[in-house]
């Protein structure tokens, strides 16, 4: 364990000096917004937050003398019993233990014994008080959580709203990200919904039955989205807002327009394009750009496909290829819709001879008729204007010599072109 620590500390020192050099060279980096992927920087964090790092001379064995004994407890003000026992293997197998972090690096103020006084009303109060600990190293992630729906709920007085350790646990914090690739570890995909399920169990059960959830938890499929792919990680936004609703098609499209993922399952990547081409989707996508907080009554992906209980289109129970299932969705907004109505939606297909042939033929008709009509009219108008221009030119040309000549110009006009003028002649002549 301590060997590990020494091995690690050399690159950490190097890393810090490299970061310092980079910061001097590129000061703009500091101004960049917080990112999910920011690596924890324990030493720097500790110094800036508390002014003093935990006393590293106190080894974990010192703490475990007491806290390694089951049954070590503490009575809280409301009578709750706080279990002070920390199973040594829990910490050692956690990502922090793996990297050799010591107890006192998180519990910075309890290095001395007897410990300073700790006052907490109840168990939840303990969690909320100790939550500050995480930001020493994970400042970026901690900042992101401040924008989350959980932080808003906490602010509004809901003490049960999730804080760091509710999801990550306090001592057996798991490694979620592959340090090389910065990608989520394969196992972590399944942990995420299970983590959220601790509070959101009803939604978890829906997700389990969904095409995404069943593929993940039954087949270990790595392509399907988990909770965080749609809801975000630390700055989890309120999914009931108009913004979330308007933006949701783009969210689904991230995977569903990606051929690398969709080709494996034979799913069309034109689902977004065909949705946007229809007026429902057009409105949603444009309002998303123009007025993202607009409350609109147009359906987004999840209105038809389901929110968490998303089913495959050919699912016999819920799939939208079963017309009756789609009709139920249509009726949510069009209560009087009948059997034929769902066919007025082209089901993400581009019109062809096989799919929506009527639309295909209308399209074909206009593709022929518009050039023919426009072209024909254009040609006739140009020819007409050309002939009229030619007539005027002939008339002018025959007038020009008439100013010097004695010959009257009229004859030329009449014989040249304007037959109507000769008719006029006839009428007038006949009358006169």
């Amino acid at each position: 364990m301590f060997n590990n620590l020494k091995v690690i500390q050399i690159p950490v020192g190097l890393f810090i000096s490299l970061v310092a050099i980079l910061l001097v060279l590129f000061p703009g980096v500091l101004a960049s917004p917080p990112e999910q992927d920011t690596s924890p920087t324990p030493q720097a964090g500790q110094e800036s937050e508390t002014g003093a790092a935990g006393d590293l001379s106190i080894g974990d064995d010192v703490c475990l003398e007491c806290h390694g004994q089951p049954g070590t407890t503490m009575q809280l003000e409301n009578g709750d019993t706080l279990d002070l026992f920390v199973p040594p293997e829990a910490h050692q197998s956690s990502v922090h233990g793996e990297l050799g972090y010591a107890c006192v690096q998180c519990h910075t103020d309890v290095g001395e014994y007897p410990h300073p006084e700790f006052i907490a009303q109840d168990l939840r109060d303990v969690t909320l008080q100790l939550n500050r600990t995480c930001q020493r190293c994970h400042q970026a992630q901690f900042d992101l959580t401040k924008d989350s729906v959980h932080a808003a709920a906490l602010e509004a007085g809901n003490r049960e709203a999730a804080v760091c350790s509710d999801c990550h646990t306090a001592h057996d914090v798991r490694r979620l990200i592959d340090p090389e690739t910065r990608e989520l570890l394969p196992d972590a995909h399944a942990w995420i919904p299970q983590t959220c399920a601790r509070c959101h169990s009803e939604i978890y059960n829906k997700y389990l039955d969904s095409v995404h959830g069943s593929a993940l938890l039954e087949e270990g499929n790595q392509d399907v989205p988990t909770c965080i792919d749609c809801h975000g990680v630390h700055n989890i936004e309120d999914p009931t807002t108009a913004e979330f609703r308007l933006n949701s098609p783009q969210m689904c499209a991230e995977c569903h327009t990606e051929p690398k993922i969709m080709d494996k399952y034979g799913i069309s990547t034109q689902v977004l394009d065909t949705y946007v081409a229809d007026f429902h989707g057009t409105s949603v996508v444009l309002f998303e750009q123009k007025t993202p907080d607009a409350d609109i009554n147009k359906p987004v992906c999840f209105d038809c496909h389901g929110v968490h209980d998303i089913a495959s289109a050919d699912d016999p129970q819920k799939g939208l290829q079963v017309r009756q299932n789609l009709l139920v969705r249509c009726q949510a907004c069009h209560p009087d819709a009948t059997e034929n109505f769902p066919d007025s939606w082209m089901s993400h297909y581009i019109p062809s001879l096989e799919k929506n042939p009527l639309v295909y033929f209308v399209d074909l008709f206009y593709k022929i008729i518009i050039p023919v009509v426009v072209g024909g009219m254009g040609v006739l108008v140009v020819m007409d204007a050309g002939r009229a221009g030619f007539n005027r030119y002939r008339a002018r040309k025959s007038e020009e010599p008439s100013e010097t000549d004695t010959e009257p110009p009229g004859e030329e006009i009449i014989s040249g072109s304007d037959t109507l003028a000769s008719d006029q002649d006839a009428v007038e002549a006949g009358d006169g």
């Binding site: 229809d278 007026f279 409105s283 034929n340 009509v373 009257p408 009229g410 009449i414």
Partner: protein, 250 residues
């Protein structure tokens, strides 16, 4: 001979030339045109932004859901006006036709095809002579029947789009997207037709305001509707230069 008369007219301003006019359109027909013009303009102005939703200019207009609703309401009101005009036009003229009070001069006949052929020959410099026309030339008939069909398509597809739930009680659902596509594409055909064909023929080729004034001058009658002019003179036994003729040529 006429050249002499023309030059005489030009050279002697003392001669006051009072041009007789011939009634061409009734007050009712002029109203119909005004309502047609206004409703079609409103329909195009409110319809095209909906068609080109993604264009920047359209986004300026249809920036919020309430704006979209407003534009749709104007579109629907204009559509009702146009529908009423169409119903009135059809009912009145069918009634008059059946009672033989309306000469069927707007209906195409074989002469129109011969006239069109003659006109094409003239435009191709294969003939010196333009065809002679009756009350309506083939171009005017084409305009009427083109708009007749187009407004019919727009009206039917528009109503299908407006009442999809009711329509699909009777017809298959596939007619809804087909009607939507036809409505939005046919609109372009109308816009182009009006801008190229109609505007050219009534403004550029010659300024013909008879649909607003209701009357056509004698020169224009003689020149552009020669056969009708002659028919009126002969059939009604009226000599050109004298009294003002009040003829119902409808």
């Amino acid at each position: 001979m006429s050249a002499d008369m023309n030059s005489e007219r030009l050279k002697s301003p003392a001669v006051v030339q009072v041009e007789r006019t011939f009634p061409r359109f009734t007050v009712g027909q002029r109203w119909e045109h005004w309502l047609l013009f206004l409703s079609v303009t409103a329909l195009l102005l409110t319809g095209l932004p909906q068609k080109y939703r993604a264009a920047a200019w359209s986004l300026q207009i249809l920036s919020t859901p309430s704006r979209v609703n407003l534009v749709r309401q104007i579109h629907h009101i204009s559509a009702i006006v146009l529908l009423l005009v169409v119903v009135y036009h059809l009912a009145r003229n069918l009634y008059l036709l059946l009672r033989k009070q309306l000469p069927a001069s707007i209906f195409p006949n074989s002469q129109d095809f011969r006239n069109a052929w003659q006109m094409i020959k003239y435009l191709l410099f294969l003939s010196r002579d333009k065809p002679l026309y009756g009350k309506y030339n083939f171009e005017q008939k084409f305009t009427y029947w083109f708009l007749f069909l187009t407004i019919g398509v727009m009206g039917i597809t528009g109503l299908v789009n407006w009442f999809p739930v009711q329509v699909t009680r009777i017809l298959p659902g596939a007619v809804i997207p087909a009607a939507r596509l036809a409505h939005s594409t046919e609109a372009i055909v109308i816009a182009i037709f009006v801008l190229i064909w109609h505007v050219y023929h009534v403004h550029i080729e010659r300024l013909n305001l008879s649909i607003f004034t209701g009357r056509l001058g004698e020169d224009e009658m003689r020149k552009h509707h020669t056969l009708e002019y002659e028919r009126l003179l002969e059939g009604n036994n009226i000599s050109p230069p004298e009294e003002e003729a009040e003829l119902d040529v409808q």
